[in-house]
Point group: C2
Chain length 294, copies 2
Amino acid sequence: MCFFTHQYYRTVQTTRLSIIGLGLIGGSIALAVRRSVKHCKIYGYDKSLLARSRARREKIVDHVASSAGHCASQADLIVIATPLGAARSIFEAIAPDLPDETVVTDVCSTKRSIVDMASALLPNRGRRFVGSHPMFGSERSGIAAADSALVAGCRCILTPTRQTDASAVRMVKAFWRSIGLNPVLMSPGEHDRVLAKASHLPQALATLLMSQQTSASMKVSGKGLFDTTRLAGSNPHLWAEILLDNAEHIAAELRRSAKQTARLADMIRAGDEAGVRRSLQAGRKNRARLESRV
Amino acid sequence: MCFFTHQYYRTVQTTRLSIIGLGLIGGSIALAVRRSVKHCKIYGYDKSLLARSRARREKIVDHVASSAGHCASQADLIVIATPLGAARSIFEAIAPDLPDETVVTDVCSTKRSIVDMASALLPNRGRRFVGSHPMFGSERSGIAAADSALVAGCRCILTPTRQTDASAVRMVKAFWRSIGLNPVLMSPGEHDRVLAKASHLPQALATLLMSQQTSASMKVSGKGLFDTTRLAGSNPHLWAEILLDNAEHIAAELRRSAKQTARLADMIRAGDEAGVRRSLQAGRKNRARLESRV
């Protein structure tokens, strides 16, 4: 499959894809493109020499560039796959030589701030930038953990605004589809609000639950604790950045969670069996709904 | 392997094992005994006619008894595999005809109250009762979900007291070992305290996290929420019983959890990046310790 159909891109035979940031996400995207997309030449860049060497040695990309600007300047599509904290400097590095037609997307877990940053820093107020959040990943990180199998079948949220070119949205949609992701459209604000609940809250709670454990409790724990806290293995720097970037929504979700946790404690101490059962039943009902979607 | 060695049980060639309660746990134990233990005749009883029929039809046990008392009266070892709420009536049903030498154990997730109940209701103040908590299970329930593969390699906590016969402890230890469980000894109080943190807290938090979700958030959720909330599928009746039976310890853990959740919300709202990162790092550090034990 080639994600540039001649319908919106007549002149290019081989698509030039640039991936800036060759970690778990960028590397997995490169491997998935390798596996599923024909006629696509992948340029890659990472500020880490180790990641660049590995990408070159294992032929994860076709060509390793020496700078972000260089990686971007010849591309039809650029995927910024760095943590959010690096995005500003990447935008600044690629903006001067960015061809007018080049489409830019990203993979960040929060969307409001990066969409704003793109309008401020990219040419034409970021009309060719389409925010993306491909919903795959793992508690691991780095190019060594990259795996094309992580990608297929996952959702990818796209967050175009009224200013975004429709052709850019079509191209980014087609790109994610070409590697097996299912595109869903949403506004940046709506994305950050629902993701606070669906993704950032589980991440924070799994980590707090793990930090509450002791040597004695871990010694007797079973599969329940193990599965419930898998996310606690994630990169704390990356996640501190995400939680702070989406501060308002996440703080609200955490407060809600703290309140209902304290309420359950009260019911348990009061011996309110019906209340405790109702509370557990509400969770089980939602769990059944979640499972029926899978 | 036969778990009755002649060292402590000279006269019986074939061990008579009674399992009262043929649900996920009792059924899995029966299947594991079938697979790993020679010279063991399994008697089973469940108050549900459906469970009894299934156990008979699928030959999960050798003989299905018509009452708990009948199931117990000829046994060398009795495993009470019912929920905690049914334990009192089981003790009352088996006590009158319980042979002096018969050893009784259970599988309940809390131990203080069942150990007390056994001393009050079984002959000789429960000297031949050894509380057990085999640490396997699943969010599913019922004999249809029974699976011998759930059992092997898991821990089994035994909670004898000063009053418990040493020979009974040895027999119960040997029994769990014979089906691949690793026995660990602990006092009933210590068990309930550490399990509140290691097992009951994850159960409660996974369920609350799930109940906080909405249609919109579930629509965009990924593997993170799915894995973190697996336990929310568990039986609410069973778990309400466990949480209330271990009320003091669990309420304390839940309060601690509510406090640290609120504290993280405060740090996020205050933009305290170092504090947020420290909090996430504490969880990651414990997660690494947990993984190194597996």
